[in-house]
């Protein structure tokens, strides 16, 4: 251990080049582009502007959920309740949008407040009650699942909310609103992680919580904040999903749990915490929807679809996702 003074100045230049090549975000981006080129050459409609735009719209939802998930995972936790929060948001927005709410903003803000509050409760459980994140958020998901059926029953609810409809299908300069929202959230997440002291605290928390506490970082505060942010971004995703679908129903958010974790991991963020970036999660999310779309194109049975999807994640992990063993 004490013998690793390697990396003298002479090795710095190729070292830097290697760092760039080993940049997971870049690798993922290259893979996405390659997959798009191959798919575009072999399937006629795939590379059309409309289709790619559609893929990005789908990726936006995963990307939004994965934004919060990335923060939580970097901080050494995991949020297994994001799927349920997406559903909560998609179902409670119609219920919270009253007739007097002409613009729909009140309903939207109220929904986001609910989603953020759920995340905050997760954070309180993890930091104040010291419940393991996996248990806390799993229990929260179980709880929400029951609560949702109690509240909404088995029926789908439709929204008549102008803001939500715009987010789901509106465009600005030809770019779907969902993608724009994703761009904004991506910028904010990247800035938060890499350009603010808070971001540095999040990385520190994930690498060594005890040393972080003893260095004067408010660990409970940071923990609560990131779970709240995760609730918030999952809530945002739920609203976009509702806007795209037109109606919300129990179970609408379920696919986004695994997708968000897969996007984070494919993007090179360590599930052990302390390392990673949202920059990798973005192409990770795009790759996920691309592959799902390709599997749909192949017209495989649900069984094969699952196998292909699982095989892909495992394959990508085996190729490049080696997690160095850490004590």
């Amino acid at each position: 251990m004490n013998a690793m003074n390697a990396g003298k100045t002479s090795a710095a230049v190729p070292g830097r080049l290697r760092t760039v090549l080993q940049n997971r975000a870049l690798q993922m981006l290259v893979i996405v582009i390659l997959v798009w080129i191959v798919a575009g050459l072999s399937s006629r409609g795939f590379a059309s502007f409309g289709h790619l735009r559609y893929l990005l719209e789908l990726a936006a939802v995963i990307g939004l959920v994965a934004a919060g998930q990335t923060l939580v995972v970097i901080a050494g936790g995991i949020d297994l309740s994001v799927g349920a929060i997406v559903t909560v948001s998609a179902i409670s927005l119609p219920l919270l949008s009253g007739a007097g709410d002409a613009t729909g903003l009140v309903g939207l803000l109220a929904t986001l407040a609910v989603a953020t509050a759920i995340g905050l409760v997760n954070g309180v459980g993890v930091s104040a009650l010291r419940v393991h994140p996996m248990i806390m958020t799993l229990a929260m998901a179980t709880f929400l699942q029951g609560a949702l059926i109690l509240v909404a029953g088995g029926t789908a609810v439709s929204a008549h909310n102008p803001v939500v409809e715009w987010l789901g299908s509106g465009r600005l300069g030809g770019i779907p609103a969902g993608i724009l929202l994703w761009l904004v959230v991506s910028g904010a997440t990247l800035a938060l992680l890499h350009a603010t002291p808070l971001g540095a605290r999040i990385f520190a928390l994930g690498a060594n919580p005890l040393a972080t506490l003893l260095s004067g970082v408010s660990v409970p505060g940071t923990t609560m904040l990131i779970y709240a942010v995760s609730g918030f971004t999952a809530g945002l995703a739920g609203i976009v999903v509702l806007g795209m679908n037109g109606q919300g129903y129990v179970g609408i958010g379920d696919p986004y749990l695994l997708a968000s974790i897969a996007a984070v991991v494919l993007g090179g963020t360590s599930v052990l915490g302390g390392r990673g970036s949202y920059a990798g999660t973005i192409p990770g999310a795009i790759l996920l929807v691309t592959v799902t779309a390709l599997i749909t194109v192949v017209n495989a049975s649900p069984g094969w679809r699952n196998i292909l999807f699982g095989g892909l994640i495992l394959g990508l992990l085996l190729l490049s996702g080696r997690e160095r063993a850490r004590r």
Partner: protein
């Protein structure tokens, strides 16, 4: 100092490493090192952190392959050892980092990896018998069924030694075995090693405590920068000579000259303080003063620091901390009140090993800045470069902290607080497992801080440190302050006597020192 009946040099070595070279990432760590362990001899291995001691031990125990050179076991040369070769050759290692499983019992831990079996099952009866026997040798009288997690660090170290003995080693390697042992436990270990020597076991003993080595060992090999600078009997050399061999120059005076603090009102005073296992503690410390906390390991000294720092719950009847009249309660408030804490276990509590040196140095700043303000990278680079220069840390600051040697890691853990100019510095055994040169630098830094008017509370398991650095020392036993020793009365004997409960005049538990 050699055992009297055999002349060890005449006996063939049980294991010998010859002309060993080993590097990491093109960086040579051992260069042509040879060492021979003979039966019935306690062989000291000395060297600063980073000199290559751990690498050499790992090569001897089969954990690492040498790049070149050979290892001769019982006269048979080979290129390298595998861990199972090493076990078969009867090599047992007591690692510096404990290797016990906290959820398993003492008995199960001792047998782990070498269980006696019957019909494929663990033979618990035989295990109990033999484990009891080796526990007896190291003075462990706890029930064998007790989980190791319930033991103090010192007791765990004894279990670790018992575990090595359980394997009936012919060659026993001990890597800083006494770093967390009490004086009594160290005494037991010393006796034990003497008996093993008489039985013909070859012992390799690594320690930073020179007085132990002088008292115990027969022969010494000194490593400096991966090269053997001495391989000779210990007879005829003194501690200063050893240090000279390790450091390569005259040790001079390890401790800086003591200066009396100017009279000033205390910056911290508590009475009726209780945290963890401590009760009824009264302490005051004034600016420029170094207050020592001594005692046997695990008698509540650490709880005092952590309680003052707000890291564990604490109560007190009366408090003055840098103007405030209540205990910090939380680490963040402790920082705001000008208290900083440097933990003993730098790898677990002090540093973020996977993060860069620069990030580690900046963390307390990140904790203070507004969370959503913009980071100024250039300014951060400047600040960390200044700190690194002040500490003598060379090379790229973007390297992960785990690439640093133990001593440099400790300097980083201390230095990250310096830009924030703490009024009260709580140091938890800052030189544990640190080489002589780094020790000297840390002592110098500590003196500078005190001269600049900062109050220091120094917890130390190294008695000479308390004697030479402190203005006053408070000794804890079983969670209470049992003695307060002023500068003029400070001596190693006084501290040890008080810690062991043999103080001539037990001090009251009340008033401030």
């Amino acid at each position: 100092m050699t055992s009297d009946d055999v002349d060890p040099v005449a006996v063939a070595p049980l294991i010998a490493a010859q002309d060993i070279t080993r590097g990491f990432f093109g960086n040579p760590v051992l260069r042509g090192v040879s060492i021979a362990l003979r039966p019935g001899r306690i062989h000291a291995l000395l060297g600063e952190n980073g000199a290559g001691k751990s690498t050499l031990i790992n090569i001897l125990s089969g954990g690492l392959r040498p790049d070149s050179g050979r290892i001769v076991v019982n006269g048979a040369p080979r290129g390298h050892l595998t861990p199972s070769d090493a076990r078969k050759a009867g090599i047992a290692v007591v690692q510096q980092e404990l290797s016990l499983t906290t959820t398993l019992s003492i008995g199960e831990n001792i047998g782990l990896g070498a269980f006696p079996r019957r019909f494929g099952l663990i033979d618990y009866r035989t295990l109990a018998g033999r484990a009891r026997e080796v526990c007896g040798l190291v003075g462990l009288d706890e029930p064998l069924s007790l989980p190791v997690g319930a033991l103090s660090l010192g007791r765990r170290q004894m279990v670790e030694i018992a575990k090595a003995l359980f394997r009936n080693p012919r060659i026993l390697i001990l890597d800083e075995p006494t770093s967390s042992l009490s004086a009594r436990e160290t005494g037991i270990l010393t006796d034990l090693l003497g008996r093993l020597r008489a039985q013909g076991v070859a012992i390799l003993y690594i320690s930073h405590r020179l007085n132990e080595i002088m008292a115990l060992c027969d022969h010494v090999t000194v490593l400096k920068d991966g090269v053997v600078t001495a391989d000779r009997p210990l007879a005829g050399i003194d501690a200063a000579g050893l240090v000279r061999l390790m450091v390569g120059r005259d040790p001079g005076d390890l401790f800086p000259t003591w200066t009396a603090p100017p009279a000033a009102p205390p910056v911290l005073s508590v009475t009726g303080f209780a945290a963890g296992m401590t009760r009824d503690i009264a302490l005051t410390v004034q600016p420029g003063e170094v207050l020592g906390l001594g005692g046997l390991v695990g008698h509540g000294q650490e709880d005092v620091l952590l309680g003052l720092y707000g890291a564990i719950p604490a109560t007190a009847t009366a408090v003055r901390v840098n103007g405030a009249t209540s205990l910090p309660g939380r680490v963040t408030r402790a920082n705001r009140l000008g208290i900083a804490y440097v933990p003993a276990d730098r790898r677990r509590e002090g540093l973020h090993l996977i993060h860069s040196i620069a990030t580690n140095l900046m963390l307390p700043a990140f904790a203070r800045q507004h969370g959503l303000s913009l980071r100024r990278r250039r300014q951060e680079q400047g600040a960390t470069a200044v700190l690194a220069a002040r500490l003598g840390i060379k090379g790229d600051l973007m390297r992960p902290a785990q690439a640093l040697s133990g001593g440099n890691q400790q300097k980083v853990a201390l230095a990250k607080w310096l830009p924030h100019d703490p009024r009260i510095l709580l140091l938890n055994d800052p030189t544990r497992g640190v080489d002589v040169e780094t020790k000297r630098e840390i002592y110098r830094m500590l003196r500078q801080l005190a001269d600049a008017g900062q109050a220091v509370i120094l917890l130390s398991s190294d008695t000479p440190e308390l004697v030479n650095l402190c203005d006053r020392v408070a000794i804890l036993r079983e969670g209470r302050i049992v003695a307060r020793i002023e500068r003029r009365d400070l001596s190693e004997a006084a501290i040890v006597a008080a810690a062991m409960g043999a103080a001539t005049a037990p001090a009251g538990t009340g008033g401030a020192p």
